[in-house]
Symmetry: C2
């Protein structure tokens, strides 16, 4: 058993979260600080290094830091520790991250995409535990994905794998921000769900949502719980579409578990039951029986503990 | 280097093909014999064992047989050497195969699904060579699939992975034999292509195919080569749908190569160019750039050499 602590960093456009994580996934100590992304990459790298040093200083004296894992909201070259592209952080295109941080910190550093480390976190310590092959789906502003196959992040040939949100469920459907038609992101994200509700309201549907000023998943969920038919339908339709895409993955990969997280997943069974029903109906019988669809367990900590787990497993 | 020969067996409902295969994928000697599936499993197992023994007897005296790999048209439990279900072979449901054959032959035997071993054959010795992650798609009566990830068949949790043919490209589309709507099998198989042509003919389209008695991919290809617009359109539409499903896989898995085989693939670039165009348009930029779509190279031998390669790599 490895008693070292590993530090996970969840780098966001707004905040840096960092935590020292035990081998059982317990966050021993955690800090959060502003990213200050507008001040450019060297500054952000200094802030990450500072957060890691502060954490190191705060943990019990006999514990050693084995390494640092960082989840980044962008497209990463894992092997070279390079950020190809990070839409929310200025100056991070084609930025070499790992060498500079390793020099600052004097310990191994590994980067990966934020959706990948969140999937790994749920796999190692959350709702994915005990599964062999797992897909994590994050329903939020967009729809993110991360694949853990045989216990490791599956990255594909250029570290882009896991883009579940851009699987198409309707080749004639809505145009996605990626340019493709019918991506599941257009149906199961906040944007997709709010659009469905708005369309129905515009078409004259009766609903308690009519009196809501700004439609959000939280408002829609509130009204769904209170029995509003339109609110319920919006989640069920999103779940049904989600199930179509999950059935594709189940048939292609015969995965064992799908872990659904993100803000929209708080609508829980309204969405998940519809997805389960669709998968039971659409996937091949063995594929449908093999796969469980469950809610994520780690919330916002998934990325942090997953990044620490990535560093831990990279070291062994 | 391993100088042993490994025997690959391609078990079909009609014929058994078996070959002794070198480590470079060369078929040293090959035999084909009737399956006689109607006479039941023990008889077929005897015939497989007989074919293997005949092969062993025919190869040069100093070569040893390291093991036997068998591709079976059904659903296989690879670990236990069990056939769960084989639609074209009576009595093969839940049939234990490996122990009986190993006793008969005195060497290791490994089974897998026929689409999986064909994918592995193309990966090791055909159009998949040099790729890290590869999907094989077989366009025939149905649409088959096999995934090779990190150089190994990816089987999923219950050995069902690779069912590319049952990814849906249109949730409101044609009902597939599996019960699902819009499976790519309904668009890119012989059945799908012939149906497209027939529908257009019924709707009054002008075409040289109107004079053809029995529509087959061969006839349609013949007329496509001669410039018949409907024949060309049929393949291009099939390829376009194929591209939608490949774009899904490219986004999810960031694979490096898609190898397209089967009878319909003889229509070559009519289909493949349409698929390539759709993938370039639909997949995320990096995913689209990562993936090459190429024709299979091994034809009917893919399964045989793939089964031998499976036995070879299982032994090492």
């Amino acid at each position: 058993m490895d008693n070292s602590l590993y530090i996970g960093v969840d780098l966001g456009g707004t905040n840096i979260k960092a935590g020292a994580v035990s081998d059982t996934g317990r966050i021993i100590h955690e800090i959060e600080t502003a990213t200050e992304a507008d001040q450019g990459p060297p500054h952000v790298l200094d802030r990450i290094a500072g957060a890691v040093r502060d954490l190191s200083a705060s943990i019990p004296g006999d514990a050693e830091i084995g390494g640092v894992g960082i989840g980044i909201p962008g497209q990463i070259d894992v092997k070279h520790g390079l950020c190809h592209f990070a839409p929310n952080m200025k100056g991070w295109d084609e930025l070499s991250v790992t060498p500079a941080l390793e020099e600052k910190l004097g310990c191994p550093v590994i980067l990966d995409n934020d959706a990948n480390v969140a999937a790994l976190g749920e796999y190692a310590y959350g709702a994915g535990q005990g599964s062999l092959h797992m897909l994590m789906v994050t329903l939020g502003t967009g729809v993110g994905g991360g694949l853990v196959l045989d216990g490791r992040i599956f990255r594909g040939v250029r570290d882009l794998a896991g883009e579940f949100g851009h699987m198409s469920v309707d080749y004639n459907g809505f145009v996605c921000s990626c340019g493709r038609k019918g991506c599941i992101e257009e149906y199961a994200s906040i944007r997709g769900i709010v659009r469905m509700v708005r369309e129905k309201l515009d078409a004259g549907a009766e609903s308690s949502l009519r009196s809501v000023e700004k439609l959000t998943p939280r408002e829609i969920y509130h009204d769904a719980v209170n029995g509003d038919a339109l609110a319920i339908e919006a989640f069920e339709r999103a779940g049904d579409y989600l199930g179509i895409a999950i059935a594709d993955v189940a048939n292609l990969l015969n995965i064992e578990r799908v872990v659904v997280g993100g803000g929209v997943a708080n609508a829980g069974d309204f969405i998940l039951n519809a997805a389960r029903k669709r998968v039971a109906q659409d996937a091949l019988p063995v594929a449908a029986k093999s796969v469980e669809i469950v809610r994520a367990e780690l919330g916002n900590s998934a990325g942090l503990v997953g990044a620490a787990y990535l560093a831990r497993t990279a070291a062994s």
